[in-house]
């Protein structure tokens, strides 16, 4: 609760700074404000707080994910200064909307009532529609925002309709009430409830970009300004997956038989389609879009295999995935700055003049592939163990096949950087930018060596 209030205040503060025309204050305020929000979130540790008649439930799980989301946003803001260096117009609106979107994400990790879930998703989505189009001069950005808005608002309708049907069947929007209803009526659920459930799955699947509701993602990612794409691919994705995880495992755990096969099929499709289509992408940004799709497939393993350990596994996976993806986007920003595009050919030979950037991107991509001993491997390992424990052997085999396929596209930039001859451009990254990239890489290594830090939290 405190976190949401503090984030909202932070956003308003940025807007006020904008009115006072203090552009240079924005980033310091944000970089100081986000850690404070994390600390405020952590004050509720082990207290299991309920607010407003269980509208918001802040348990350890939601605190851990909240802290993670704010931390990733913090990491993204580390690169904002360099990204918006040449932009003359005021930036308070973009920064403030990002923070508001983050507040929406926090609601999605700590809801106790379907209305709060919907409010969180809408707060997030409306902010994202604006952010996707925030590069007003670029036609691609306009295209992205229009596509995202049309599809997004349509699918929000599904979500709301699903919630309404669930309310109609169970008579409540409260998660506990619905959970009690499902236990009571387990054998003979009304068709209304089932329909509502599936509409809800469709709505959430769209927000996460799960196959077959993923078609918007690559286009929107490509058109959106790169820094904001990083936000979409990490924070937004993780928040949506966590919402799915929380909803289905707290609310509908007694009727697993009804939704588990559907999610199983969606996970398989997501892993296979995401990885196979990733092979045919011409540039890194679209490739990362498909990579994020396939990783949401892996994260669905945690939703399916609910056990005492699965939330820890999901936390580690979300952290490993986000840190590596933010690293990749940070270097992508540099490449786009130097070459004006991000085709794989733009990466050729950059390792000669920029060894640090090349090595950091390599480690990030290897972590996404799941090569030991990096964070991505440990995360995948935990996820797969929890899934195997619950008997999802075939899903695990498909997930592993998927990561074998993913080698092919994660290695394309690596091959281009190290093995091909290029024009040897020196990327304009300052000391601070480099330090940040190295910091992210160290995080990737550290999470690989000490996964227990996150796993044992939950």
């Amino acid at each position: 609760m405190l976190t949401i209030i503090s984030l909202t205040l932070l956003g308003i503060l940025i807007l006020a700074e904008g009115i006072l025309d203090k552009k240079s204050w924005h980033l310091p305020t944000i970089l100081a404000g986000l850690p404070i929000s994390i600390l405020l979130a952590l004050t509720g540790w082990n207290q299991n707080l309920h607010f407003y008649k269980n509208m918001l439930i802040v348990d350890n799980g939601s605190i851990a994910f909240t802290a993670l989301l704010i931390f990733i946003t913090f990491l993204i803001f580390l690169f904002a200064g360099r990204y918006y260096k040449d932009v003359v117009r005021p930036l308070d609106d973009i920064y403030a909307i990002l923070i508001f979107a983050l507040a929406g994400c926090v609601m999605m990790t700590s809801f106790g009532n379907l209305i709060i879930l919907f409010l969180g998703i809408e707060t997030l989505s409306i902010a994202l529609y604006v952010l996707a189009g925030s590069h007003k001069e670029a036609i691609t950005s306009n295209e992205a925002t229009l596509k995202y808005f049309l599809m997004g608002s349509f699918l929000s309708g599904f979500l709301l309709f699903g919630i309404a049907l669930l309310y109609g069947a169970s008579g409540s929007l409260n998660m506990d009430e619905i959970s009690r209803y499902t236990i009571r009526e387990a054998g003979h659920l009304s068709p209304m409830f089932r329909t509502g459930l599936f509409l809800l799955i469709i709505g959430l699947a769209f927000k996460i970009a799960i196959v077959p509701f993923h078609f918007w993602a690559p286009d929107v990612y490509e058109g959106t300004p790169t820094l904001l794409t990083a936000f979409m691919a990490t924070v937004v994705k993780v928040a949506s997956i966590v919402a799915l995880f929380r909803l289905f495992n707290n609310c509908f755990s007694s009727i697993r038989d009804i939704w588990a096969p559907t999610l199983w099929i969606l996970a398989v499709l997501t892993i296979l389609v995401g990885n196979l289509t990733g092979l045919y992408q011409p540039n890194l940004k679209r490739m990362l879009a498909y990579s994020s799709i396939s990783h949401s497939g892996y994260m669905m393993l945690a939703v399916l295999a609910f056990s005492a350990r699965s939330s820890g596994a999901l936390l580690l996976y979300a952290a490993a995935y986000s840190v590596a993806t933010v690293t990749a986007f940070a270097i992508l920003i540099l490449i786009r700055g130097a070459k004006r595009n991000d085709l794989y050919t733009s990466f050729e030979g950059i390792s000669k003049k920029n060894p640090i950037e090349a090595i950091c991107l390599t480690i990030a991509l290897l972590s996404l592939t799941g090569i030991p001993p990096l964070a991505g491997f440990m995360a995948k390992y935990y996820l797969i163990t929890t899934a195997l424990e619950q008997g999802y052997l075939w899903l695990v085999i498909i997930a592993i096949l998927g990561s074998a396929i993913s080698v092919a596209y994660y290695f394309r930039p690596i091959i281009a950087m190290f093995l091909k001859e290029g024009d040897g451009v020196k990327l304009e990254s300052g000391i601070a930018y480099k330090t940040n990239i190295i910091f992210l890489t160290i995080l990737t290594l550290a999470l690989g060596f000490l996964p227990a830090l996150l796993i044992n939290l939950l």
């Binding site: 090569i371 491997f377 290695f411 227990a452």
Partner: protein
């Protein structure tokens, strides 16, 4: 303690080397680090007692909730392979000084990193740790071959990576599956894995997955298609690391994991693995006879030789396993020596095409002499290291089936054919225009060859020391099979 030093020293060296710019310092630290590493492993051998099987245990808690420990140790088989690694690495590094590779800090840093990964694989006594080091060895290997390789290296090394990575993912699945079949509390520790309760059907699947991972790495026919290309294009040092040490990870994995974990499946499917290995022996030898490129010839010869090793392992006999262990060492030593010689010839003649090299022995008698000794070792002439290994392996196979032993024995004849043919073409006869002007092997070029030749003869004359080292560990494995 010793295992800890053996693991940390190369890692430390590689980190230092990565950060250095001055080539002299890079050379100094890489050679000093690898020689000290060898001395440490010799000291380990000195402390090692043949009586008890797992020693120098290093156990660090890592992930308590899942009972995953960083558990290392050394038994009779792994100490021999660790010695092989620490023995060959300084020689390979010293040999590479003559080549002036670009970006030396990356090159030698990656070699040291690979050495650490090898030692980790050979000393891991925990399934997950084994897997982690197994994959860790692949990354430097890929970059060494891909950055400093020859023509068409990007496509070929990528094929190599995809092949081996996919294979090892199957191993990961079966390791995880095994984990849940181990007695409670579940653990990846090797004795827990040995004690896993599996139905015969489950064993069959686990066997297949493990076999795929190891067969690709070794490589066993028909999973060998990545190998000749990769060996041919890789830089000389890269081929030595791949052929001399890395493929032993596969044969070691067969002994350490497949034999004790799935004995029932072996009774059912072992014949298939044996048949594939023996097919590979003959198939690769026949192709080797037709090769024109010396390095490619050695690549096919290696498929044939390791085919015999894996055939010996799948006989599940004491003799077969002893032969396999000693042949792993011999093969590593011989192939490294041969690759050094080929690289020296290439440096002089500017080609590896057998038909364009003639009569080198007249101008370079010492080179020819070293070449001859290594060839004989590789063919398996008595009193060279190849003989004792091949003899034990064939003996083991003959205990299973005499006709199979006869087929496998063809490898000696075939290898005599292609090796001596290569020697005769390149060394004997009248020198051509270029070979009239070649110089003999220089002193610095001799240095890495001398220890190799000593080992070729020493193992050939006194194999008992090595057999004695490995015997208790092999007996332990045999007990687990039956």
């Amino acid at each position: 303690m010793i295992t800890g030093i053996l693991l940390l020293l190369p890692l430390l060296c590689s980190l230092i080397i990565f950060s250095l710019k001055n080539e002299k310092w890079i050379h100094l630290i890489s050679i000093a680090g690898s020689v000290i590493e060898f001395l440490v492993s010799l000291y380990g051998l000195f402390l090692y007692s043949t009586q008890c099987h797992c020693q120098f245990i290093l156990n660090i808690g890592w992930i308590e909730t899942l009972h995953v420990n960083l558990r290392f140790g050394v038994d009779g088989i792994s100490i021999l392979l660790i010695l092989l690694t620490t023995f060959l690495t300084p020689l390979i590094i010293f040999f590479s000084f003559g080549h002036a590779y670009s970006k030396p800090s990356a090159f030698y840093g990656l070699i040291m990193l690979m050495e650490m990964a090898f030692i980790g694989v050979f000393s891991a006594f925990d399934g997950l740790v084994f897997y982690i080091f197994w994959e860790l060895a692949l990354i430097p290997a890929y970059f060494i071959c891909a950055i400093w390789g020859g023509n068409d290296r990007i496509r070929i090394t990528f094929k190599f990576f995809i092949y081996t990575f996919t294979g090892s993912l199957f191993m990961l699945v079966s390791l995880l599956y095994l984990y849940f079949r181990t007695p409670a509390p579940h653990s990846f520790e090797i004795i827990y894995l040995y004690a896993a309760h599996l139905t015969p059907k489950e064993q069959g699947w686990i066997f297949l997955a493990f076999f795929l991972a190891f067969a690709i790495k070794i490589p066993i026919f028909p999973f060998h298609t990545w190998q000749p290309d990769t060996y041919t294009i890789a830089p000389a040092a890269g081929t030595m690391l791949l052929a001399g040490i890395m493929l032993k990870m596969g044969t070691y994995g067969l002994i350490r994991f497949i034999l004790p974990i799935c004995p029932i499946a072996l009774k059912e499917w072992g014949w298939l693995a044996l048949a594939l290995s023996i097919t590979g022996i003959i198939y690769a030898s026949v192709i080797a006879i037709r090769q024109m490129d010396m390095k490619r010839l050695i690549a096919y010869a290696s498929i044939s030789h390791v085919g015999l090793i894996s055939a010996g392992i799948f006989t599940l006999t004491q003799k077969g396993l002893e032969g396999a262990t000693i042949q792993m060492i011999s093969h590593g030593i011989n192939i490294t020596g041969l690759l050094i010689i080929i690289s020296l010839i290439e440096k002089r003649m500017k080609t590896r095409e057998i038909f364009r090299i003639e009569g080198m022995a007249t101008r370079a008698p010492w080179l020819a002499a070293f070449f001859m000794i290594l060839l004989l070792g590789s063919i398996g002439i008595p009193f060279t290291n190849g003989f004792i290994g091949e003899f034990l392996l064939l003996f083991g196979i003959s205990e299973v089936n005499i006709w199979l032993a006869a087929l496998a024995g063809l490898t000696i004849i075939f290898s005599a054919v292609y090796m001596l043919w290569m020697y005769q073409r390149t060394m004997l006869g009248n020198p051509n225009e270029i070979s009239q002007r070649v110089s003999d092997i220089s002193l610095t070029e001799t240095i890495p060859l001398i220890p190799i030749v000593i080992m070729v003869i020493w193992i050939g004359v006194f194999p008992n020391f090595f057999l004695h080292m490995a015997e208790p560990a092999i007996r332990e494995i045999m007990n687990l099979i039956h």
